[in-house]
């Protein structure tokens, strides 16, 4: 047994053939010399030699590694079978690829978002500190994704905490890198001095921040780039160090690059540029968050000291809370708000997997998608099993013949094994491909303009290994078991049964029935789920939001770089709106502080003047200009809109919506009533008289029910309330979008070229807000449809088998006088029984399982009967034709042929 000999065996075979020929020639010569006739000499020589073929075979076998040779044969044969039976194999591979691919991709995303720990040193020691769940938290301004701390509170915590060996604050923001015109954002990160040190992140180039960099009043101490941003924008050149980068118009010198693979502490997000927390006042100018005790914008994470447990840390921060909050009480709070503030308690939670808004929003949907994918895997495996069982039965005859000719059982079983393995291997490879594709599709789907998603797209081998193993197991089980059983029985018996199988087949067929029923049931569950999601999305897309979203362009204008006085800003705002209205093609335009479904919210507490009704109430607010309602398409129901009468010097007026009346006034007429908004001491009184009623419109999210909203006039909000950083203009125009954008840019540049502009349509903003619902509807719809298809194929296979088995019986019936209808009824009833059982099971499952998705639905209960009925109908529509085809073919049977075909 040598490898060299194995590889040289064709050569050796040829050698030996020559040798044999030479031998025979010698013998023939000898025979002729002895006096035989040449022909006789040849025969005698051959007789003397014996069996040439056996000799060749024996020698060949000596030269080969038997195992490898037969393996090669088996695989080549299996490949040939694939070519001969493309239908079976393509369906089988489709099943495998789907099951494996879907599960791997979704698990990968789930793992990245939920399960992985941060790629930093000892992530299990990391702990997030925030205010414990409290219905009164919190009052003030909130401006980042994770607004847990004010600067003052963070500073106090830092100096007084004892539980952490290192503690840092951070906030994610977007910085504009252009100096005017349309914005170009980078993902920014404010990081306190201990950020990198506590996480154990080292610089890949230059240096990262140290506590010395983060001192109050630091101005512009430098910026640290992330590794990926450095590669993208600076080509990974070392010359990036020392260059200046503009963030919101302020220059920062690049001092270093963080290590590769570090993306911050937010899972699913990444930062491009990090600057110290102390640089915030410089970047935001007048809008600075740092000096305001009521501006929440930071998040805090600490690393536990050696020997400290999470519970101890939690207790510790809780204990020091009163002192911290007392020292940081914002001066503008009313006594009531102050009391609530002082009662806040800090708590600590594990942060080993970082923090993630993505996780909170998408955890449930991803788990549900994983469950859906798992169901698809089960259905796919059941289908695969069914297919292989059917095939094995059809090949029984072939096996019997082979056994009779002289194949050994192990050899036959090895061949079946090779076939199953080949199928599993190809299926797994396709599954891996599908997984990659699906992964990038998911990431692409979930990335919106505002919130890009960063997920490491490397392959996760765990899920892939698991699902592949499952697939291989199915293949082996259902490919080998029938083969082993068949080879164990007497070949004669097999052949005598006219290729229709043994009594064993009865058990096997019971299994197939069960498989098909299970498939139908599970498919129905998936279809119900899919339909629930699709209908939810449809309801969300078609609900009356209280405004007309189509055709509205939103322009966010940021003029903070201009550093105007409040009076000039007020005039600037009015000028902007005026110019917008004058643009060619613009029908309506108006400004607003909070764009609907835009993610921003302004709410305040207020009282009714005259205490009728008495008490403090909470309502949403929105500052608008005249023209807003007309632009957005919300009709005025009573009273009047804001107009030129409303100036900074005239009495303040307000417009309320229907929910306001319903919730606070029990339907009484609000026009004429006055409300007083709660303001801090030292701020001007704000009393508003209600002059109009508007239709309800959605504020923050489409899913939320209508909430009370009070609209105030931006024209009346002069110093000091005027918007400091910018304004949002909504416009409706006849002109094409590109022309609109060009015209707006021109006009705004004419006012001042250093204003930053951001454009989007209201329609796209709303679509983005429904991302989760769209994800669920799309994917579950896709899987549901596929499941239905697979179930139909399974049903078709079983029906075809039934018909094949009962062929002679049907032939006899037809010969005896049964007509087509009778035969159809006969076969159809079998099919109907299977389908019905499956559907009933499916309905039962869905009623139980759909409770899990209640939170994700909108406007539908999970047991919505219309949806279930529709799903049953859909599945029946897909499955019935598939299963009736064999029945119809059976009814057209020529009895003579059926009986003769033994």
């Amino acid at each position: 047994m040598g490898w060299l000999r194995y590889l040289r065996r064709p050569q050796r075979d040829r050698d030996f053939a020559l040798e044999i020929e030479a031998h025979l020639q010698h013998e023939i010569d000898d025979n002729i010399a002895r006096g035989m006739h040449p022909q006789e000499a040849a025969w005698a020589a051959h007789r003397k030699f014996g069996n040439v073929t056996t000799a060749k075979e024996i020698t060949h076998r000596m030269n080969t590694i038997g195992f490898l040779e037969t393996l090669g044969q088996d695989f080549r044969y299996a490949l040939r079978l694939i070519r001969l039976e493309p239908g079976f194999f393509s369906v089988a591979i489709l099943c495998l690829a789907l099951g494996i691919g879907a599960n791997t991709a979704i698990f990968h995303l789930l793992d990245a978002v939920r399960l992985r720990t941060l790629p930093v040193a000892n992530p299990r020691e990391l702990v997030e500190v925030q205010i414990g769940p409290n219905q009164h938290c919190c009052s003030g301004n909130f401006s980042s994704r994770r607004s847990n701390f004010t600067y003052a509170l963070w500073d106090q915590l830092r100096t007084h905490q004892q539980a952490f060996s290192g503690v840092f604050a951070w906030a994610a923001y977007r910085f504009n890198t252009t100096t005017g015109g349309e914005v170009r954002y980078v993902e920014g990160l404010y990081a306190s001095g201990d950020f990198f040190r506590t996480l154990g992140v080292v610089p890949a180039l230059g240096r990262v921040f140290s506590p010395e960099d983060d001192r109050p009043g630091c101005g512009s101490p430098g910026a640290v780039l992330s590794y990926s941003y450095w590669q993208r924008e600076y080509g990974g050149q070392a010359s990036a160090i020392g260059r200046k980068i503009l963030l919101n118009g302020k220059p920062f010198e690049i001092i270093g690059v963080s290590q590769a693979g570090f993306f911050g502490v937010e899972v699913g997000r990444s930062f491009d540029v990090a600057i110290p927390v102390c640089a915030e006042p410089l970047v935001n100018g007048e809008d600075a968050h740092t000096p305001k005790r009521h501006h929440w914008w930071l998040a805090v994470i600490g690393r536990l000291k050696p020997g400290w447990s999470l519970t101890q840390a939690r207790a510790h921060v809780r204990t020091i809370s009163p002192g911290l909050f007392e020292a940081t009480l914002p001066p503008r709070y009313t006594p009531e708000t102050a009391k609530e503030y002082l009662a806040y308690k800090l708590t600590a939670d594990p942060a080993e997997s970082g923090v993630s808004d993505l996780r909170e929003d998408y955890q449930d949907p991803l788990y549900i998608l994983l469950a859906i994918a798992a169901l698809v895997l089960v259905i796919a495996c059941a289908n695969l099993a069914n297919l292989m069982l059917a095939r094995a039965t059809a090949r029984e005859r072939e096996l019997a013949v082979r056994l009779a000719i002289g194949a050994s059982r192990p050899r036959l079983i090895r061949q079946m094994l090779a076939e199953s393995l080949l199928l599993a291997a190809i299926g797994a490879a396709c599954g891996a491909l599908l997984a990659q594709f699906l992964s990038s599709y998911l990431v692409h789907f979930l990335t919106t303009n505002d919130t890009p998603l960063y997920v490491d797209l490397g392959t996760d081998w765990r899920m892939f290994g698991f699902t592949s193993a499952l697939a291989v197991l199915t293949c082996l089980l259902f490919g080998l078991m029938p083969a082993i059983r068949a080879t164990r029985t007497n070949p004669g018996k097999l052949m005598k049964a006219s290729g229709r199988g043994l009594t064993d087949a009865r058990e096997r067929f019971g299994l197939r029935r069960i498989l098909v029923v299970a498939q139908v049931g599970l498919s129905l569950v998936l279809l119900v789920g899919a339909l629930l999601f699709v209908r939810s999305l449809h309801k969300l897309l078609t609900l009356d939001a209280g405004f007309q979203e189509s055709g509205v362009l939103v322009t966010e204008i940021n003029y903070s770089t201009l550093k105007y006085s409040p009076q000039r800003r007020y005039e600037l705002q009015r000028e902007i709106v005026r110019r917008f209205r004058l643009l060619p093609g613009v029908e309506q335009a108006g400004a607003t502080t909070d764009v609907p479904i835009g993610g921003d919210r302004w709410n305040d507490r207020f009282q009714f003047v005259g205490a009728n009704p008495s008490g403090k109430f909470l309502s949403n607010f929105n500052g608008i200009t005249p023209g807003y309602f007309r632009t957005i398409g919300t009709p005025l129901l009573a009273g009047r809109d804001f107009d030129e009468r409303d100036t900074p010097n005239s009495p303040k007026v307000a417009i309320v919506n229907q929910s306001f009346i319903k919730q606070f006034l029990n339907g009484a007429d609000p026009i004429g009533k006055s409300i007083r908004i709660e303001t801090g001491p030292g701020e001007p009184e704000a009393v508003y008289q209600v002059v109009g009623i508007t239709k309800d419109a959605k504020y923050l999210r489409l899913r939320d029910p209508f909430s009370p909203t009070v609209f105030t006039s931006l024209d009346q909000m002069a110093e000091p309330e005027v918007q400091t950083s910018g304004t949002n203009i909504l416009s409706r125009s006849q002109v094409a979008l590109t022309a609109q954008l060009a015209a707006i840019k021109r006009e705004m540049a004419a006012i001042s070229p250093s204003m930053a502009l951001k454009f989007y349509t209201l329609h796209s903003a709303i679509a983005d807000s429904l991302l989760r619902e769209r994800l669920m509807a799309t994917l579950s719809g896709f899987f549901g449809f596929l499941a239905a298809l697979l179930a139909s194929i399974g049903l078709y296979g079983v029906m075809a088998y039934i018909v094949a088995r009962r062929r002679s019986e049907i032939g006899i019936r037809i010969a005896l006088g049964a007509d087509r209808a009778n035969v159809l009824k006969l076969i159809g009833s079998e099919c109907g029984k299977l389908l019905l059982t499956g559907l009933l099971l499916g309905i039962g499952f869905s009623l139980a399982a759909s409770q899990a998705i209640t939170k994700l639905l909108y406007g539908l209960s999970p047991t919505d009967p219309a949806t279930i009925a529709l799903s049953v109908l859909l599945l029946a529509l897909v499955a019935l034709p598939a299963s009736l085809i064999p029945a119809i073919r059976a009814s057209r049977l020529d009895p003579m042929q059926a009986l003769r075909d033994e």
């Binding site: 003397k48 056996t54 020698t59």
Partner: protein, 117 residues
């Protein structure tokens, strides 16, 4: 078609003795397959009839074990033929097989005793 065990046994024994015979035949001079077959038949006065077909596997097995070596050459009839010659290992093997064979024969003879009528 299962091979019956009997044949295997006979094959085994034949292999061992056939190997010995081949080695002895080419001990003095190399020869090709045909010559070896005829030599064995001739020297044993046609008592030992070797099926030529099974000679070759035996030759190849011996070559595999390194007891003989092969080379192509021209035969007496001016035909190309594969010649086999014995190797030093082969010589040693032949000697040990030879003594073992003698031992067996002596032992059997002792058991059988002198030839009775």
């Amino acid at each position: 078609m299962a091979r019956s065990k009997q044949n295997d046994d006979r094959g085994e024994m034949m292999q061992g003795t056939l190997a010995m015979l081949i080695l002895r035949t080419i001990l003095l001079a190399p020869a090709h397959g045909h010559t070896i077959a005829h030599a064995i038949e001739h020297t044993s006065e046609d008592v030992l009839q070797v099926e030529h077909g099974s000679l070759y596997p035996a030759l190849h097995r011996l070559e595999e074990r390194g007891l003989i070596a092969s080379f192509w050459g021209t035969s007496e009839n001016n035909r190309k033929a594969k010649y086999y010659r014995i190797t030093p290992a082969g010589r040693k093997h032949l000697a040990s097989e030879r003594s073992r064979w003698d031992q067996i024969v002596t032992a059997i003879a002792r058991v059988l005793g002198p030839a009775t009528e």
